[in-house]
């Protein structure tokens, strides 16, 4: 049996490796996705005052601290049984939309987009944002930097600190928004909409107008039909910040819709001997192994999954793009909603539609008369023992679950981070891509390995959150061994 190792995975937060085992004919016998894990974060939190959690959990990871901050404050609202004033909820969501714009922008231009914009077979040293600039023009680099800067400013204005907000409190928010700040944010939201439309235009011109890329997106290599998970509002429209968790089957039928605090009734975790990772699955369907289909409890929680579970988007231009997206894949309507799209590379497109939605919703919130209300906090007076908070993190549904005594001291903490939801689906996508791409007698070259990497990069997995590990330098080592374990090729590149 031959072994192909991709280790660690390039351009991903944290570090991991892919092990691909070939049989004697040179076909893929099996593929595994492994990451080391630092354990004990939850235990580190036990014994602390619950109200510290919004600041502590946003330090788990330098990539999406805003998501942890928001899930934590929402969990505290429930733990202390206090309903924040309407203005506080809107300020939280306004900050969150600015964060989503930043995060999705960064992923598209720096991490996922280069595979398309620069090309999947381009040398690794060029498959980065500099390569994007060379292809699209210097202006795009300036636009990305300006987008990040203006939204970091919003996060700092509203959250008290750039990147790592500190303003969330149980029952609300620590500061209100002045009219001057509101005007500035409104202008930033308008610029974000323009930028999102520009980004969708880039995607259209470079991917959708290129028959080779369209074929790649639609190919069986990147197709996995699983259940989809995401948060929806009361009208079953996409909601990134609040609502109920909806799960639909691979054909689009609703399996269940539940309050985030009921997650333990619907989600169980599978442990495998070959990895520290846990694999959440749908209890109601059951674990049937790493496979898709209606009888397998594997689900995905990604931008694509979120489009799959919702009936539509609540903002006009994002809704237009959603319909265009569905039509491009020929997704028929069933029961008043589009059937799910399972072409995993379409996740990049879905991410850009969410970028537009976040920008449009940001404008709605910035022009909401209530956003400048001075009433931004209700004081908590009791601790009810348990609180669960949930948001859609860019990489999937993020859940914080805290238990505490009457004194508010934490007795138990459980976090299910966005990437964790997708562990089984990521493993399946890697195996599928490897099986389709590596065939007997075919030499495993750099470009081919990148096409396998693309199968998990589309999930934008944040392994530092999922494993509580922290990133360092990210070299990529690829070893290919023949069936007797002898190394026959070795690749190395810097990450």
């Amino acid at each position: 049996m031959k072994r192909v190792t991709i280790n660690p995975i390039t351009r991903l937060e944290g570090h991991g490796k892919i092990e691909i085992f070939l049989d004697e004919e040179g076909n893929v016998a099996n593929a595994y996705f492994q990451v080391p894990e630092l354990r004990g974060f939850e235990q580190f939190c036990v014994g602390r005052r619950a109200e510290e959690m919004p600041v502590i959990t946003n330090r788990i990871c330098g990539v999406c601290p805003e998501a942890h901050h928001m899930a934590a404050v929402k969990a505290l609202d429930r733990l202390f049984a206090v309903e924040p004033p309407a203005a506080a909820k809107k300020i939280r969501e306004l900050l969150y939309m600015a964060f989503f714009v930043t995060d999705h922008t960064t992923h598209f231009y720096a991490l996922g987009g280069p595979d398309f914009i620069v090309g999947p077979d381009a040398p690794p040293a060029e498959r980065n944002i500099l390569g994007v600039i060379r292809k699209v023009g210097l202006d795009v680099g300036k636009r990305v930097i300006e987008c990040r800067a203006r939204n970091h400013r919003v996060i700092q204005m509203l959250g008290g600190r750039q990147i790592h907000p500190v303003a969330g409190l149980p029952g609300g928010w620590s500061k209100s928004v002045s009219e001057e700040e509101r005007r500035e944010i409104e202008e930033i939201a308008r610029q974000n909409i323009e930028f999102a439309l520009f980004s969708l235009g880039v995607f259209e011109a470079i991917v959708l107008q290129n028959p080779e890329y369209v074929e790649m997106v639609r190919s069986d290599v990147y197709h996995d039909a699983t259940y989809s998970m995401g948060t929806v509002d009361g009208h079953n429209r996409l909601n990134l910040f609040d609502g109920e968790i909806r799960v639909v089957d691979p054909d689009g039928g609703e399996l269940v819709k539940y309050d985030p605090s009921d997650y333990t009734a619907h989600i169980a975790e599978r442990v495998e001997p070959w990895t520290y990772l846990k694999f959440p699955y749908l209890k109601q369907v059951g674990w049937k192994g790493f496979r898709g289909g209606k009888d397998s409890g594997v689900y995905s929680a990604t931008p694509l999954s979120r489009l799959n579970v919702c009936d539509g988007l609540a903002t006009p231009r994002a809704q237009e793009q959603f319909e265009k997206f569905q039509e491009a894949f020929g997704s028929a309507k069933a029961g008043g909603r589009y059937r799910p799209v399972h072409h995993r590379l379409a996740t990049h497109w879905a991410r850009l539609i969410e970028l537009l939605y976040a920008a449009e919703h940001m404008l709605e919130l910035a022009t909401d008369p209530e956003i400048t209300s001075p009433h931004v906090r209700n004081l908590p007076v009791t601790c009810v023992g348990r609180g669960v908070g949930s948001v859609e993190a860019p990489r999937g549904t993020l859940t914080h679950d805290y238990s505490a005594g009457p004194d508010g001291i934490l007795t138990k903490v459980n976090l299910i981070v966005g990437t964790t939801n997708n562990h089984a689906a990521i493993a399946m996508s890697i195996r599928k891509a490897a099986e389709k791409l590596i065939r007997a007698g075919r030499v495993v070259e750099e470009g081919l390995l990148n096409r396998i990497e693309m199968a998990f990069r589309l999930y934008d997995p944040c392994l530092s959150c999922a494993t509580h590990a922290l990133p360092g330098e990210m070299p990529l080592v690829v070893n290919i061994n023949n069936h007797s374990g002898e190394q026959i090729r070795s690749f190395r590149r810097e990450g």
């Binding site: 630092l38 004990g40 720096a110 930097i145 990040r148 990450g495």
Partner: protein, 154 residues
Amino acid sequence: MDTIVIGLGNPVLADDRVGLEIAHCLEERLRGRSDVGVTQIFCGGMNLMEAMAGHERAIIVDAMTGGGGSPGTVYALGPGALLHSRNTCSSHDASLSVALELGALAGLRLPRDVRIWAVEADDVSTFSENLTPHVRHAVPLVVEDVVRHLESTE
């Protein structure tokens, strides 16, 4: 010279927080110096480049692993060594070198003088807000070193 001092690291991961602690001490020591700012960030790559933008000089303090020295060893490094400390890269967006090139291409004013002080860590895999003893002892040494450097190049 307009200077930004940037502490890098994870505040809840034992020795990985050493850069943040040094930055905190430097903030106290340098209070009153209008030409020197101090900041702390938890993620490298584009965030680090953006924190450096607009300043003539940047001083980065970070933890390091695999530097070859025993825990607590202090390395004063030039810009070529930037990639070798723990937190200067973000694999989520870009390496620092790519981020710096991007910033330069996009017209940001980036420091011409970049130096890094890195401390060899002992433990970067335990959730803790405490440094291990050898690393803790290195904190005042780095603080003095950076202050002396700033004074000698004022």
